[in-house]
Structure formats: C-alpha cells, structure tokens
C-alpha cells in the first residue's frame, strides 16, 4: 500500500516514471522502486523519525553495521522546513515568513490529476504529449526518478541496488573503500 498517494495516483505515477526511465533489457523506474521512493518522500512524516535523512556511517553492504536504515531525528527547525516543503505552508504564519509555499504533495496531486485519470490507458504519443504539456511537473518527477533510481535503496527506490548494478557503479563503498591500485590504475 502506498504511504501517501492514492492507489490510482500510484498507478498513474508508475506509468509516468516508466515513461521517463523505461525498461530495456533491465528494469524500468517503476520496477526499480522509484514510485515508492517518491511516495516515501511525500509521506515522510508518517513514520518517526521521518524518512528525510538516512543514517550513517555505513550501509552494511560493504562491511560494518547497517546504519543507513536508522533515519536521523529532525530538530524542530528541520521539521518546519521539511513539513513546509512537503505539505506546503497551508496559511500557517510560522511557515509563511517569506510568503506562501506550495508543497510537493499538492504539486503531485495536481500534476497527476492534470495528466488525466486515463493516462495509463493512452498510447505513448498521447502520454508524451501530456507530459510535455505539463513540463514543470514532468521535470519534478524526472528529477525525483533519478534520485529514486540511483540513490541509496534505504529511501525506497533503487530496489536491491538494481539502479547501480545496471550502470556498473558500486553506490556506497564504506568502510571497504578502494585500494590505491583501484584508484590509480585503469
């Protein structure tokens, strides 16, 4: 079950992400967990600590304890910033010291609505036309898709490191690091 998106929105977003980063011989964005990455950000405050900053120092994939799964607690100011960024300022004075802020949740809800409830059922040309007609939203989804595809799996995307393995990067490497020869040789 999605954390914040409705099931219908989740399905539309999956189609959008797969259009932006399609499957080829390797999985596309949706299969790699990109929609869960975005849903996890939109619903970051449904868990405590919120899913904003993964912990450190190591992931456990290359030795050491698996610290990434312990997300950092937020201070009151951090929470103000991230709630405003995600939920919008909603007319609350403490969030509007420099004016109203449209949150990511509203941008996604309105952006997905603008693509149409029938987005998934339309052919590629029509999907392409609608995405280009909603360029700022498409750019937002693409940037989040890149983060969900190639960022640390602990944020919900890049399932089992599939984003990294398909392009031949190691992702995080601590505490193993690289040997001097691996740095200096071809």
């Amino acid at each position: 079950m999605p954390t914040w998106l409705t099931p219908e929105e989740y399905e539309t977003l999956a189609a959008v992400c797969d259009f932006l980063i399609p499957a080829d011989q390797t999985p596309g964005a949706a299969a790699a967990g990109v929609v869960d990455y975005i849903d996890g950000l939109l619903g970051a405050f449904s868990v405590d600590p919120p899913r904003i900053w993964a912990g450190g120092a190591f992931s456990g994939r290359h030795g050491g304890p698996a610290g990434f799964t312990e997300f950092h607690p937020l201070t009151a100011l951090d929470e103000l910033a991230w709630r405003t960024r995600i939920e919008g300022s909603q007319g609350r004075p403490e969030r509007e010291f420099n004016g109203a802020v449209v949150g990511l949740q509203q941008r996604y809800r309105e952006g997905l609505a603008a693509l149409g409830a029938d987005f998934c059922a339309r052919d590629a040309d029509e999907q392409d036309r609608r995405l280009r007609a909603n360029a700022p939203f498409t750019k937002l989804v693409y940037e989040h898709s890149c983060e969900g595809m190639y960022g640390a799996p602990e944020y919900g995307g890049n399932r089992d490191g599939i984003g990294w393995s398909t392009i031949g990067v190691a992702g995080d490497v601590q505490p193993r690091g690289w040997t001097d020869d691996e740095v200096s040789e071809a």
Partner: protein, 551 residues
C-alpha cells in the same frame, strides 16, 4: 558569567581560534547556528557517525545546511535588478559544526608570495581596489606550517616549482593519484605545464588518532564517514578536551553587544528559540565572508566598507569526452592534482591582457578532476528511451574528465553583501543579499585560459571538449539558483584588512579598527582573492590573530 572569548562559527577559522585560545588556558564558547554531526559533545574523543556515502542526503536534502527555506539568501547583479532577482540557495557553504571544512574535498594550498603584494607586484586595475595586504607571506609562513600540522595536510614539498617557499615538509606524503589525473598530468606536462599532487587535508596515513583515507570518493560535497578528512574536527576535539571550551550548536548569534568603545558580549537564540545574551572579553567572528558581514550589519556597525569587496573565485570549467576511457572518478579524493601556471603571468597572458585593455591578468589553480555521482549525471540527460543507455555509456560521468580553474576575482567596491530589505530568515532577521558582477579581468582571464585547458584535454585524447564558466554558462545541479550567481564556495573579502581605517575594516590581526576586541577570523578579511582555495590561508590568519590575542 564572562567568558574570555565567544567564537561565532565553528568552521576552519573559528575552530583554529578555539584550538589556540584553549591551549593558552582561555575559556571559550563556540556558537554554531547549524547542527552538530561531527563530534560527541559529552565525549569529544568519540566521533559522530552521521556522515555517509549518500548522494541524496548531501546533494538534494540539505543535510549540511543551510536549508534554503529556513535561511535563504538573495542575489542581484546590480541595483538595476531591483531589490533582488533571486531568492533561495546562493553559494551556500555548509552551516554545520565544522562549517566549510566539512563539505570541501580538502585541497589546502598556500598562497604565493606576490598574492600578499598584488598592488606592488602587478599594479592597479581600473574599477578594482587592488591593494597590498598589511602582512607578507613571510609573516604568515610560520602559521601556514602550524595549521598544516593542526589540520593534517598531505603533500609533496618538492613537486610544485611554482609554489612559495616552505620552512619544512608537509606533515604527510600525498595519497594515491586518481587514474584520470595520471593521464591529465602527463598531457599537461607535455604541453609545458607543472602539475603536482594537490596538498590535501586528507590523511594518507594514520594521523592524530584518525585513520588514513580509504579512497571512498565521497569527498567534495560530503562529510567524511571515517574522519580521515582534515575538516576542523581535530581542532575542535583538542579544544573540547582541554575542558576550556563549550560548543553550542543550533545557536544563532543575532547581535554583538557594545558599550560604544568595546564589545561586551553577544545576543543569541538557542535551540529553545529564546533570545539570551552572554558577556565576553573578546568576540571572535568566523561565520564566513557572507554571514560575518551580515552579523556586523545586524549589530548596527557602520563602517562604510563592511560587506564591500566581495570576491568569489571565477570558475572556468573545461570538460572533455573520451570514448575509449573510463575514469572511475568515484574512486579517490575527488581532486588529486593541480597546476598553478595560470597564476604566473607569461608572455601569452600578458599579450591577452593587453588585447583586453588590462594591465595584467591572472587565473587560478587548475583542478584535475572528474565526477562519480550517478544522480547528478542522470539529471543532465534527457528523459525517455535513451536514458538508460546514456547512463551505461556514461559520456558525462565515467568517460568525462575536466579541469576547473578557480580564477582570481578582483576586489570591486560595488560587489557586496548587505541586508536584504524584505527577505527574512526563520528567526525573523534580514538575510544576506549578494550584489555581484564580475570585473572585466575575470572574463578576460577566463577567455584566455579556458581554451588552454581544453587543449590539454585534446592532447590527452579527448574527442570533444567544451568550456563553461560560473558565473556565466555553467548549469550545475538542477535546482541551482541562477547562472549569474557564482558557484564557487570560495567567498572572501567583505571585511577587508589593512593599516588605514579609512580603506579597511580590520587590522592585520583581524581586529576591528573601531572595536579592537572584536576579531574577524575567516576569509572576510582577505584583501585580494588570489586564485588558490582560501581555507589554509584563512586558518593561518586565524591562528595568527588568536596568537596575537593571547600575547
């Protein structure tokens, strides 16, 4: 309670002052407006484990601060833009315990001798306040050597024929050369340049109880997960271990209190959101060249030069594509090689200066580097069917090598930091506003040296090259503000030092001419910018200023 010194800012400047003062038995309180992810305040021998190889946390979620929603900055190129043309993230050097030392990739070169005598050595430039510093390289050399030991610097004292003289070797030998830098150094040498291993605040061996760098590659923009980087951690740990220092993170100093003749302390807002005050014999300001003048202006200080002569290195980036090479730039210390040739005028640069109607021109250090960050790369490619193939072929990451020149930026009085008339931070205080446009010198130097860097890439075998600049044409990360705002984090010069109170704000020991128990200990005091990274020089000046305080 009156402490000997309040220190505003825990970056390389403030931490160096704390280290020197506490060793002399002074009591200090260090205020830092950002969070602490560096040291265990109860047990300073323990290091925090919050840093990680996590591109999302550091590049896209403001982990090191400042959060541009809580603490925006504003930008304009000049009054013709109105109050400001942009609000948001402008040149945000980290706001966290350790400051700018945390995110840097740890290149810490010294300046050259003539950087302190720019007016005498090269002469004036129209429209710029070119001047000599009130101290010389020889005055600063012992402090350079001192802070190299405090921070832990690796390097090869014999490798750079263009370097200033040194009283001794580096504390550690250089670490391993990155593969791409091996190739680009060979090409540069072939064309007559003088590449050398970058002096690095990255341990090449166990140093000061901290481990050797293991080449993880998450260096520039990241905190070091294993504390092998010479961010100010060593100085802060030492200061805290004396028992004479207290570090207060998440605490914003809003005002320096004075009785008209001397500073008496500071007002601050702690994590509780409530305003407090503290009395101090000295107030040391080390907030960096943006936040330091902001605090002086918030305090009502009225020297007309506060905030003026803002300098930010003019970046020229030459990139090249190599179909047959993979550089794996995600391994190693981000930048392992530099060359300084653009800092030393030759016949060609003299001719280019004449052609541009300038008396002389200088560039800056040229960094040999690549990129290993896949999200950053992915956002550059267009979306659609070609995306994954682009990522696998990787023309803009794994098959790309680059030179970045940190060009000298001349001091111009109209380039300045002041208080924005309308935009506020989360605590209700006016934010810093940049007013900045490059001097013709920077544009001419960039136009001269850019193609020369591209020529080295061609000699190295590049199939294509491209030159971009910041400010100017460089895009940077997708959410990067405005191409007019300089990307370099090397901000300097807004509280310049000098002997004459009419033409400078502080003296050679960093003391405000008007209030001598207020000491500025960061790159605000720089008279000219040179073309070298500012960190080691500002730390050396901070060590010198703190030594002068203790007598």
């Amino acid at each position: 309670m009156t402490v000997d010194a309040v220190i505003v800012g825990s970056g390389p400047g403030g931490s160096t002052v704390a280290d020197v003062l506490t060793a002399a038995g002074w009591s200090v309180v260090i205020f830092e407006k950002g969070r602490n992810h560096l040291v265990d305040l109860e047990h300073p021998e323990r290091l925090a484990t919050d840093y990680s190889n996590d591109e999302i946390k550091f590049l896209y979620r403001h982990f090191l601060g400042p959060d541009p929603f809580l603490e925006p900055r504003t930008f304009r190129t000049g009054p013709a833009d109105g109050d400001h043309s942009f609000v948001g993230e402008v040149n945000s050097i980290p706001s966290t315990v350790g400051g700018g030392g945390i995110h840097a990739d740890g290149k810490v070169p010294r300046f050259r001798e003539e950087d302190f005598t720019l007016l005498s050595s090269f002469g004036p430039q129209d429209g710029a306040a070119v001047a000599d510093w009130p101290l010389t390289y020889a005055d600063l050399e012992p402090f350079y050597a001192d802070v190299e030991r405090r921070i832990g610097v690796s390097g090869d004292a014999e490798a750079n024929p263009l370097a200033a003289w040194r009283s001794g070797p580096y504390p550690m030998p250089p670490g391993p050369s990155m593969y791409g830098a091996v190739l680009s150094s060979a090409a540069a040498e072939q064309l007559g340049y003088h590449p050398y291993p970058a002096p690095g605040a990255t341990n090449s061996e166990v140093y000061d109880g901290r481990p050797a760098c293991n080449n993880c590659g998450f260096c520039a923009f990241f905190g070091c997960p294993i504390h092998a980087k010479g961010d100010p951690v060593a100085m802060l740990q030492r200061a805290l271990r004396t028992g004479n220092a207290e570090l207060r993170p998440e605490t914003f100093v809003s005002r320096i209190r004075t009785d008209g003749r001397r500073a008496t302390g500071v007002d601050f807002i702690g994590p509780d959101g409530v305003e407090h005050s503290m009395d101090a014999r000295y107030v040391v300001v080390a907030g960096g060249a943006v936040e330091t003048p902001r605090l002086l202006l918030l305090s009502g200080f009225d020297h007309p030069l506060i905030g003026r002569h803002l300098m930010v290195h003019f970046q020229t980036l030459a990139v090249g594509g190599f179909a047959d090479l993979r550089f794996h730039a995600e391994r190693g210390r981000a930048v392992t090689h530099l060359h300084d040739d653009a800092l030393v005028p030759d016949d060609a640069s003299r001719a280019a200066a004449r052609e541009a109607g300038l008396p002389w021109m200088r560039g800056g250090i040229v960094e040999h580097g690549g990129t290993g960050l896949p999200i950053l790369e992915a956002k550059i490619y267009p979306w659609g069917p070609a995306h994954k193939e682009s990522m696998r072929r990787s023309p803009l990451r794994d098959r790309m090598w680059a030179f970045t020149m940190q060009g000298e930026d001349l001091p111009v009085a109209t380039n300045r930091i002041d208080l924005d008339p309308t935009v506020r931070d989360v605590r209700g205080f006016p934010v810093a506003r940049y007013t900045y446009a490059p001097h013709p010198h920077e544009l001419a130097a960039s136009a001269h040296h850019g193609p020369r860097m591209a020529a080295i890439l061609e000699a190295m075998g590049a199939e294509w090259t491209s030159v971009v600049t910041s400010p100017g044409t460089a895009g940077g990360p997708a959410e990067k503000s405005t191409p007019d705002a300089p990307m370099s984090r090397h901000v300097m010069g807004t509280v310049r030092m000098g002997e004459d109170p009419a033409t400078s704000v502080v003296d050679a020991d960093g003391r405000l001419h008007q209030l001598p128990n207020v000491v500025i200990a960061d790159s605000s005091v720089f008279v000219t910018s040179s073309g070298y990274g500012p960190t080691l020089t500002l730390a050396a000046l901070a060590a010198r200023a703190a030594t002068a305080m203790t007598g």
